[in-house]
Amino acid sequence: MLEIRAVNACYGKIQALWDVCLEVREAEIIALVGSNGAGKTTLLHIISGMLHPVSGSVTFLGRQIDNLPPHSIVELGISHVPEGGRVFPDMTARENLEMGAYPSRAWKHRVKTIEQVYQIFPRLKEREKQLARTLSGGEHQMLAIGRALMSKPKLCLFDEPSYGLAPLLVAEIFRTIQSLRDQGITVLLIEQNVRHTLEIADRAYVLENGRVCMEGDCAELLQSDHVKKAYLGL
């Protein structure tokens, strides 16, 4: 469904991605792991149009998207839970969810979709009239995830959705992500918690210094010496 071919990306003169290739098939959970500064966030920015590649291509459902602006890419069915959530601090939780339904095809159904999000995260319903800046860390992340679901995406990109959360909440976020696949939403997931991520994902890519250095089924990667040493602390 998503195909990234030989993408190079730069911030000014600094190159952050080198010849990255990656493929996501329908109804998969794909994990993207790598240490800090490896280029994971940059790759998600390339997919959602926040950064345009210097060379290479990104195609989604057979359509080239690497030259499109972010708002056109959301329209096509990709949504993004950005690093740190990036909810709108001076809007209420409910207004944040409404913003997620901004594309016109989703706006019409926003009231119904909000109810569906409240079923996944009942806490958000209790907090719906509160400004996002007053929410706790966990509620903040739930809001960011809920907001991304509001556009009824076909592919959802997650950038460290459980960062800084208590273990109980981390487990809840992982369960939610797994349940998305059952609803037919394809997932590309970046996580710090490598073991847990490889356990729920189908396939994974390992990024190091802006390059894909390993890829394959999660079960295989969990057995690999390099992954064990570098990411699982064994």
Binding site: H71, S79, P82, M91
Partner: protein, 290 residues
């Protein structure tokens, strides 16, 4: 004594309503579109002189001129953003550089608009008389045109508040003000929203100019003073806060009215003093965030 006090307060609110309107327009342009628009006052001047021209040449009611000036200014502002500022934004690289570049560009725009208007209308001071009959408010007497001005400022302020909080595009504007990149991945066409904000700011300036022309003499060089007042109010209220601009405008109007009561020539000087004190003591303004 009481009547004098009431006199000052009501006069302050009348002036403040106008300031609020001007500042809300600039707040959209600076707080959301990041253009510290030095040419803001020129749109006020255009609104004022067009209204004057319509009234004296074609006998068109100034309040009806609003229906022409407002949309025209919106379109003009929208086009200016789409052609000039959007390009600057793309070529500037960073937002900090863009703020500097766009301010310089707006300086240039100020001279262009002012000189074109000067060629067209000349430097004479103009005025007309409309709704100038006195109205007695609990002993204090005001021109009806001043009260209409205040009414309009409040009406536009409220309409605008509902627009921002209740409509889809209004919410997109608030989201873009808080985090433009995040608004983009929600599906908001940022360039479009910024151009709309710039256009709305220009429309508010033109409407303010129309209201000013009903109570004060107008001329092609009148713009800059209002630009400066708008900047002071926007900083007073807190950068990017529309309610802050509204309240800051009313507050500065009250201050202006009190100072004018004691020494009419010192109002503008008092604004500068407040501006400098504010920058020293609370640079984030009344309702701004750090």
């Amino acid at each position: 004594m009481l009547v004098t006090f009431l006199d000052i307060v009501i006069a302050g609110l009348l002036l403040g309503g106008l300031y609020a309107l001007i500042a809300m327009g600039l707040s959209l342009q600076y707080g959301v579109a990041r253009v510290l628009n030095i040419s803001h006052g020129e749109f006020i001047m255009l609104g004022a002189l067009t209204t004057w021209a319509f009234y004296t040449a074609f006998d068109i009611n100034p309040l009806a001129a609003l229906a022409i000036c407002g949309p025209l200014a919106f379109i003009l502002g929208f086009i200016i953003h789409r052609t000039l500022y959007k390009r600057l934004l793309n070529s500037s690289g960073s937002l900090a550089l863009f703020e500097g570049n766009s301010m310089l560009a707006s300086f240039g725009l100020m001279f262009i608009v002012q000189n074109l208007a000067l060629m067209f209308w000349g430097p004479e001071i103009r005025g007309y008389s409309y709704l100038a009959f006195p109205v007695d408010l609990a002993g204090a007497v005001f021109g009806a045109n001043r009260l209409v001005t205040l009414g309009f400022a409040i009406l536009i302020g409220l309409t605008f508040y509902f627009f921002l909080t209740r409509t889809r595009i209004g919410k997109a504007i608030r989201a873009a003000a808080q985090d433009p990149a995040a608004a983009g991945i929600m599906g908001v066409d940022i360039n479009n929203v910024l151009a709309i904000c710039f256009g709305l700011g220009a429309a508010m300036a033109a409407i303010a100019g129309m209201l000013i022309s009903m109570s004060y003499p107008v001329h092609t060089g009148m713009g800059l003073e209002y630009t400066i007042i708008a900047i002071i109010v926007v900083v007073l209220g807190g950068l990017g806060s529309i309610p802050g601009s509204f309240i800051g405008g009313l507050l500065l109007g009250l201050i202006g009215s009190i100072v004018t009561y004691f020494e009419p020539g010192l109002a503008l000087a008092a604004y500068y003093v407040i501006f400098i004190l504010l920058l020293l003591v609370k640079p984030t303004g009344l309702m701004g965030k750090s």
